[in-house]
Symmetry: C2
Subunit: 364 residues, 2 copies
C-alpha cells in the first residue's frame, strides 16, 4: 500500500495556540497564476522624502512637525484607533433576558496608539540596519512597555495590554513606507492574546509544563522546522504555520515580556531579527513584506497571567512564489479554515538554506 | 458628562458565532492613505476570452477541453486542494505522553474540489445575470450538495462537509476573472463551521432557542443594520462585522441546508443576491470584490448537528473607501483582534440607501 507522504498528501494540522486547524495541500503550488501581481518594491527610494509624514523635520499629516530625530523616534499616532479621552460605556447589568442582552455584547475601549520610526532614514529597513541601531528599536519597545506599565500601575491610565507590531510593505497595508512600527495600548486584552493565554493555561494544567518550553525543546530535537538559533532565541516555521513563510521567534527560557530583557537578550534579539529579515529579503530578492509583532505578558500581569506568559514574536509574510505573487487567505480560508500550499518543513528548508549574513543588495 | 457615541468612540463588539471580539474605531476612516491602490476593474473585458481556462470550448490548464457549455457548468478543479486518492494516515493511538503527542496533532484529509462556472459569458458577474440564469447557479449548488451527500451515504466517498464559496476580483485572490465559484468537499468539518455549530449548540443549551432565529428577529426589530429583506431572507451587516461592508444573508425560517430548498426559496435567494450585488457594485461604481460562501448543515447531518444548522451566507468584501482603497486586516488584526473603521450601522446605512435594482453600468 502507498505510504502517507506529508510533502504530497493533504492533511490538517492543529494549532494549539489558537485552538484551530490548518489545511496543508502541498501539491497545490503547481497551479497557474493569472491573478493579482504585487508591485515590486523600489530599492532606490531616497534616504529623505520631503513628502513623507514620518521623515525628520517634516510636517505631519495633522499639522505639527517632527523633530530632526537621529535615532529611533516614538510619538503618538495622529489617527489613533483608540483614545484615552472618551466616556466609559455604562453596562446593562439588569440581567434581563432580552434578545439584545443575549446577542449584543459591547465594551468601550480607551487606549493610546504610538508610531515607532525605526530610523531617520526613509529607506532603511530592519535587515539593512546596523546592530546598534536595531538595539535602539528594541530599547524603544522596552521603554514603551515599561512606561505604559508604570502609567497603569500609578492609575494614570487604564492600560492592560500593549500590542507592538510592524506592517511592512504595501502588500501588508502599510500606508507609509518610512520604516516604522506601531504600538496599540488598550484597556482590554485582544482576542488573539487572550486565546493564547488560555491555551498556555490549559496546557500547564494538563501537562504541568509550559507549552512554549516543550515546543522549543521539541523543535530543537526535530530540527526540520528550525531556521535560526542563538543562545537566547530560536526561529521556527511553526508546525501549524498558516502563511507560506510564517515564523515564530521564541525565547529559549521563560521571559514573560520585553520588560524583563537584559542587555544580552536585547543583543541576541537584534542579531536574530537581522539574520531572519536578511533571509526574508534574499528569498525573492525583494524588500520582503510582512506583519510582525510581539506576544507577551499583559502590563503588570500577576499570578496565572504572569506565569503563563512567554515572550515570542509572530511574523506573517504574504509572499508565496515570487516577489510579486502572494498567498491570498480568502474564500475557503475565511469560510472554512486556513489552507497552505507548501509544508512548514519545505518553507523552513528554504529559509534555512538562504544566506542570513549578506543582504542581496550588498552582493555584486 | 459626555455621552458615549457609538459612531465616534472606540468600542469592542462580541461575535457570538466565532466567540471573539472586534475593535470598532469609527473615527479612523479620516486618516490619509499613501498605501496600496487596487487595480480598478475593467468592465470592458470580452464575452469570450480565447486564453481563459474556463471559457466554453477552451483548453484547460492541465490539458483537456471544456465543452461548449451554455448554462452553469460544474467540473472537478484541476488543482484540487484535497484529493480522494491518497492513503489514510495511521493515528498514533499508543497514548504515550511524548512531546510530539502533546503538541503535534495531524489528520489526513481526503476530498474533492469543484469549479462552478456561473455562466458561459466571460464578463458576466452575478449582479448582471438574468434571474433565471442565477437560479441555475443555485440549482447547481443544490445538486452538488445533494449528490455529495448521496455519495457519502452510499459509502462511495468519505465526505463530511462541502464548503461552497466564491472569490470575486483580484483583490480577493481570484486567479481567473471568468465568473466562477468553487466547492471544496472534505472528510472533516472545517474550523470556522465547527466553531459556529458549537456556538449554536451552546446558545440552544442556554436559551432553548436558535441563535439565528433570535438574531433575525432582533435585526428585523432594530432595522439599523438591515440592508434587504424578502419573504425568505434578510441581508444584514452583522452587529459584529469585521470587513467594512460585510453582510450575512440569513434564511428567516430554519432551513439546515440548500439541500432542502424549494422553488420559492431558490427564487428568493436569487432575487436577494442580485439586489445585494447590484448595491455592492453601485457603492463605488466598480465590480465589487468579495469572498462569499454558504454555511449550512454537514452532509447527512443528524441529531444535534442537524438541529443546530441554519442556512446562511457570509460576504466578506475588502473595499473600504473607494474602488481602489481596501481595508487591510494585518498587524493589529492578525496579532490582536480585527479592527474596523466605520460602524456596522454606518455601512448598513450606505448599502440600504443605494439602488438595488439598476446596475450603474445600465444607467446613462
Ligand atoms: O482556487 P484559486 O482561485 O486558484 O485560489 C484562490 O482561492 C483559494 C481558496 O480560497 C485560496 O486558497 C487561494 O489562495 C486563492 O488564490
Ligand atoms: O495604521 P496604518 O499603517 O495606517 O494602517 C494599517 O495598519 C492597521 C493596524 O494593523 C490596520 O488597521 C490598517 O488597515 C492598515 O492599513
Amino acid at each position: 500500500a502507498q505510504q502517507f507522504d506529508f510533502s504530497d498528501h493533504s492533511h490538517r494540522r492543529y494549532n494549539p495556540l489558537t485552538d484551530s486547524w490548518i489545511l496543508v495541500s502541498p501539491h497545490r503550488a503547481k497551479r497557474p497564476w493569472l491573478g493579482q501581481q504585487e508591485a515590486a518594491c523600489k530599492p532606490t527610494s531616497p534616504v529623505y522624502d520631503p513628502k513623507c509624514y514620518l521623515c525628520p523635520g517634516n510636517e505631519r499629516a495633522t499639522g505639527g512637525q517632527n523633530p530632526k530625530y537621529e535615532s529611533t523616534y516614538v510619538f503618538p499616532n495622529d489617527y489613533a484607533a483608540v483614545k484615552i479621552d472618551q466616556p466609559v460605556l455604562p453596562q446593562d447589568d439588569s440581567g434581563k433576558d432580552t434578545l439584545r442582552n443575549r446577542l449584543f455584547k459591547v465594551q468601550s475601549v480607551r487606549g493610546n496608539c504610538f508610531v515607532i520610526c525605526f530610523s531617520p532614514k526613509h529607506n532603511l529597513t530592519i535587515p539593512q540596519m546596523k546592530h546598534s541601531d536595531l538595539v535602539h528599536v528594541i530599547d524603544a519597545w522596552q521603554n514603551l512597555y515599561n512606561d505604559l506599565a508604570r502609567e497603569a500601575r500609578e492609575n494614570l491610565k487604564p492600560f492592560k495590554y500593549v500590542q507592538i507590531f510592524e506592517n511592512k510593505g504595501t502588500a501588508m497595508g502599510c500606508s507609509n513606507l518610512h520604516p516604522h512600527g506601531q504600538a496599540w495600548c488598550l484597556e482590554a486584552i485582544p482576542s488573539e492574546v487572550s486565546q493564547e493565554l488560555k491555551s498556555f493555561g490549559k496546557y500547564k494544567y494538563e501537562h504541568n509544563a509550559d507549552l512554549l518550553a516543550d515546543y522549543v525543546k521539541l523543535e530543537l530535537e526535530e530540527k526540520s522546522r528550525l531556521v535560526l538559533e542563538n543562545e537566547s532565541f530560536i526561529v521556527v516555521v511553526p508546525y501549524w504555520a498558516v502563511w507560506p513563510f510564517e515564523v515564530m521567534v521564541v525565547s529559549k527560557k521563560k521571559i514573560p515580556s520585553i520588560g524583563q530583557f537584559d542587555q544580552t537578550l536585547k543583543d541576541n534579539l537584534a542579531l536574530i531579527l537581522k539574520q531572519l529579515t536578511i533571509k526574508y529579503d534574499n528569498l525573492f530578492e525583494t524588500s520582503f513584506p510582512y506583519s510582525m509583532g510581539i506576544h507577551q505578558a499583559p502590563l503588570n500581569a500577576k499570578g496565572d497571567e504572569l506565569n503563563n506568559s512567554w515572550f515570542h514574536m509572530h511574523f506573517y509574510p504574504p509572499l508565496l512564489r515570487s516577489a510579486t505573487v502572494r498567498k491570498f487567505l480568502v474564500g475557503f480560508e475565511l469560510l472554512g479554515e486556513p489552507q497552505r500550499d507548501l509544508t512548514p518543513e519545505q518553507a523552513a528548508d528554504k529559509l534555512r538554506n538562504l544566506d542570513g549574513k549578506v543582504h542581496y543588495l550588498e552582493k555584486i
